[in-house]
Symmetry: D2
Subunit: 351 residues, 4 copies
Amino acid sequence: MIKAGIIGATGYAGGELVRLLLGHKDVEIKWFGSRSYIDKKYYEVYQNMFQIVDAVCMDDNMEELADQVDVIFTATPQGLCASLIREEILKKVKIIDLSADFRIKDVKVYEKWYGIEHKAPQYIDEAVYGLCEINREDIKKARIVANPGCYTTCSILTLYPLVKEGLIDTDTIIIDAKSGTSGAGRGAKVNNLFCEVNENMKAYGVASHRHTPEIEEQLGYAGNCEITLNFTPHLVPMNRGILATAYAKLLRKPDGSLPSYEEVRAAYDKYYKEEKFVRVLDKGVCPETKWVEGSNYVDVNFVIDERTGRVIAMGALDNLVKGAAGQAVQNMNLVFGLEESEGLKLVPMFP
Amino acid sequence: MIKAGIIGATGYAGGELVRLLLGHKDVEIKWFGSRSYIDKKYYEVYQNMFQIVDAVCMDDNMEELADQVDVIFTATPQGLCASLIREEILKKVKIIDLSADFRIKDVKVYEKWYGIEHKAPQYIDEAVYGLCEINREDIKKARIVANPGCYTTCSILTLYPLVKEGLIDTDTIIIDAKSGTSGAGRGAKVNNLFCEVNENMKAYGVASHRHTPEIEEQLGYAGNCEITLNFTPHLVPMNRGILATAYAKLLRKPDGSLPSYEEVRAAYDKYYKEEKFVRVLDKGVCPETKWVEGSNYVDVNFVIDERTGRVIAMGALDNLVKGAAGQAVQNMNLVFGLEESEGLKLVPMFP
Amino acid sequence: MIKAGIIGATGYAGGELVRLLLGHKDVEIKWFGSRSYIDKKYYEVYQNMFQIVDAVCMDDNMEELADQVDVIFTATPQGLCASLIREEILKKVKIIDLSADFRIKDVKVYEKWYGIEHKAPQYIDEAVYGLCEINREDIKKARIVANPGCYTTCSILTLYPLVKEGLIDTDTIIIDAKSGTSGAGRGAKVNNLFCEVNENMKAYGVASHRHTPEIEEQLGYAGNCEITLNFTPHLVPMNRGILATAYAKLLRKPDGSLPSYEEVRAAYDKYYKEEKFVRVLDKGVCPETKWVEGSNYVDVNFVIDERTGRVIAMGALDNLVKGAAGQAVQNMNLVFGLEESEGLKLVPMFP
Amino acid sequence: MIKAGIIGATGYAGGELVRLLLGHKDVEIKWFGSRSYIDKKYYEVYQNMFQIVDAVCMDDNMEELADQVDVIFTATPQGLCASLIREEILKKVKIIDLSADFRIKDVKVYEKWYGIEHKAPQYIDEAVYGLCEINREDIKKARIVANPGCYTTCSILTLYPLVKEGLIDTDTIIIDAKSGTSGAGRGAKVNNLFCEVNENMKAYGVASHRHTPEIEEQLGYAGNCEITLNFTPHLVPMNRGILATAYAKLLRKPDGSLPSYEEVRAAYDKYYKEEKFVRVLDKGVCPETKWVEGSNYVDVNFVIDERTGRVIAMGALDNLVKGAAGQAVQNMNLVFGLEESEGLKLVPMFP
């Protein structure tokens, strides 16, 4: 039985991690960390856990925690994980960090976009970017897994085959993403009140959202080139779900023609056909967030626009599952040599 | 492996049954019946099932179905199950009927409230009302289980201890219930369009809703008396969830005092303390539908109003799970001698 | 031109007051009071007012304000208005108080339910309860109008004809009310976050909500008796709208029969036929909150249940309009001798 | 008093037209046309109109109607207006067509994208495209006004200054638009049921939506060039509101630098500074659909991304007001020489 500790267990991602790990046959949660609710019963924060979880919330003491568990999930704001991590801890436990601390390889880029100093830059190189479908083998050997962001997971998986196979002009990539509100977290802010979000829609963080450099870096590895793109997130009145709509110019073939549906489809199938959690939909079917809700699936598809020569690629996932806690569990499974889908065989819930 | 067939697999309750049975280790779905979508891939109706279910939709042929499966779930409008059932079928399979056909023992009451003739009254007596927590032992021996309605499950479990223990004046019961919109089904009706339901709220079926006689009959058995009550359903802009708020005069003790919190609580504990799926919340905590979403739980609680001498009892459940498909699986587990919670260990999803 | 000042202009009710007064031909808003946003442009708080309102937010200085305006609206938490009011102010301006400070005639009841000391009990007697349809003549002469609560307006108008005409047993009244979330205000609380409210439903303040004594007092005046009743509010995932479902035993006639539909209807027509803002719906039509959204209407109707001898009365209004700002404007119109519906000829918005 | 007739008065746009015209001091609605509800009271279809509209629904008889009114609004599916229009009618009344019949100048383009034969191509040239801010003078003289689509109004007004002033490379335009569900109409379709739309998000009509050629044609006039672009609509779980997020490469200046914020802003101000209904927001403020709900405003703004050299322009409107009925009234005001904003001084409703 793998013993797990969660730092930040009372945020939405932390709560989802608890839900998923409770259904994982090889894991036992030993530590429900939540600085805001120390000594409070966990179920008093999340009454859905009444009679399911009896533990009380604990402090964020990573050293003590490292003595008690095999894996620590940090579902906290950026900065915390980097400030707590050290060699003695890493010798004892694996770290799966749901924050951004170890996602970006260039510490200057991190510090610029996040506006804080990185407290443990010495571990950035070692940390593995935990996008399981892309970095599976490296994750298996990692001590620190940098669990990807919700928007980034969706954006990267939507575009990866196109970039990797050189089908698009990477200077023309535009990602227009829409998210449910759980991605904004559980902080008590006027902007996230029901009446402010409901029956409303807006873009935010235009040309400045922190997931931008993460997407650029990872797609850059895929394309073996530097990529600069536009990423625009939007807030939508729903709890869960991210939909990314991505645009790029298709590279024409020597004869001047566009790649065919079959050729683009072959690229998607090459990378995803064997993947349990990435579903390439049938031709003409657009991904809907509801079709993946509560599950670890990412649904992707694309349309070729002959008129403009662009491909429109779309991806949908549940931001709290494949976009956060689900992928964290998938990473944990890889790190500990378990079946990759253990605890994640969740059928999407509709309606 | 138990072989299951579903008639009405493309309604919302049918779809939920598919979701639950896919996670049940002892069951295999052999027949996805849906007269409206015959020969269509099931996943084309519910894309959440893409790459999970590969079957095509079949007709409502109960006789042929009876040769292929061990249990038939009928998730269809009232009348259909009664019109198809016959002795040769019952000799081969168990029937779990999610419609109202076998819920009401008095055929005249059924015919009056539903406005149709009952086609198989000879089986009404034999059928067991499938409210698992109340009729567990009888269900185990049943050939036909009449799976309770969503409102009724919620209403009865909310009031049962009060009636059974004689704590309230049964002439004063009022149930004000509120439901999400999946209870209205998947039919294409203007009334159920997004723009008609969203940002809206209304009562409907006032003093005439068909779940009324079902609640009255079952509570009457508990109280060993005839009960006539008010039941008012309301439509609320959410997908899932029923909340019942019930009112009744507490019977005063010989000394004229009201029963205490502890005395009423003892009644709830008497019937629910050992029940996995009924959670009596801590004092002062009101049930919320979100805390049970996606799960088979019913959360109940009560408040005593000293000023008016009434008890306000509240119950919340997911209308598609404990209110339909989840309870159907729970019934199936009882009928086949499996662990009662098999396939139902679902942690409620929040948010 | 009547000059108006608003204390608490950046709450939801205050914002609605601004919207309505901007459309009122005889009123000019001179003071946008908001202690939280002093010196900030009003439109920066509510961008819907961009290029419509250019003023900055001011402090809550009632004395200075009294020199500048003819009427002050206080849309603030209870306690504030009572703490600021004094004779010099009342000599200069009319006060329309949207808080609870002057609604309850018995100061002990106020202090018990609200848990605070009343700072200006000497004005309670003078203040007129501003339910326009009931107290029209008194309001015209008032210096202080106590604008009714949202739940209370809905509950009282729903039941008034039944109580006034002696049609029901007032010991049996139960009001089950449901509200959209704007009634909870604009405070930054976790409980009111989008993800906590959306797809969720709950009762709250069971047997203890502060609108209870207000309803009891006013219905008591109508029935000329002391009334104790149950009032249960619920939170529903929508922005605007209150629906009250009220239950009571009909008093039987000497011959033992229940009053007929026509007899009950006559009672409703007696009080509301000439009322612009109270619409008694056609037989069989249940009020829906959407049909009154954005307007000052209250829609009411009733159903007689012959089986139980109860009447189920229903009422729907927009909590920010007839439940707050709209009624405040209606009161202002009465106080200043304007046409009662001036500024309130709003057609409900659907969808 | 201008007499108005509405063909298609019971669709959502028709209903909104009724709401707006009821508040217009110079107009009287004489004909509520609705083939589906002939002889039914209009308020029985839309109960918000109870005690406000007493008329019954009439047939779609344009000839008879032309004798009774001064202006006919056709809020019907495409094809109907073109099939009914003829010279005798145009001699008597003005036509404001909310369908697509007269929006596209090239009949072949219309027939290709709409898949139907145009029944009155002889009037296409004469019809004026009713985007008031752009074609004001021509509209004043028109007999037939082709009222623009909801997506197109939003998209064109968002991009117009950029194209007109030659600030962007028109080959790089991408419009990612999101709409509430009222845009899908009031037809009883499974896809538009509450439970299918709520908590869900999807793109649709990718690379094939009918508003594409309309946007291209109008922006082409502005840029004096042929424009081909990508337009992707999305369905979002809300009633009202469209948000368009548009992307394009800024043209660099001779010195290689990008246009500055001030330069781009000057372009927006040039066209919109004097426009009542187009609000260019303050720097850094992103449009939100809620800030324009229920009103005739379009809020626009832009961000320059120095990293990619693109401008991200955003626009928000209420699809039923400025995107349909409000613009139709604005057009009517122009045609009849009334104040352009008469009947449209609606303050956006928040929340």
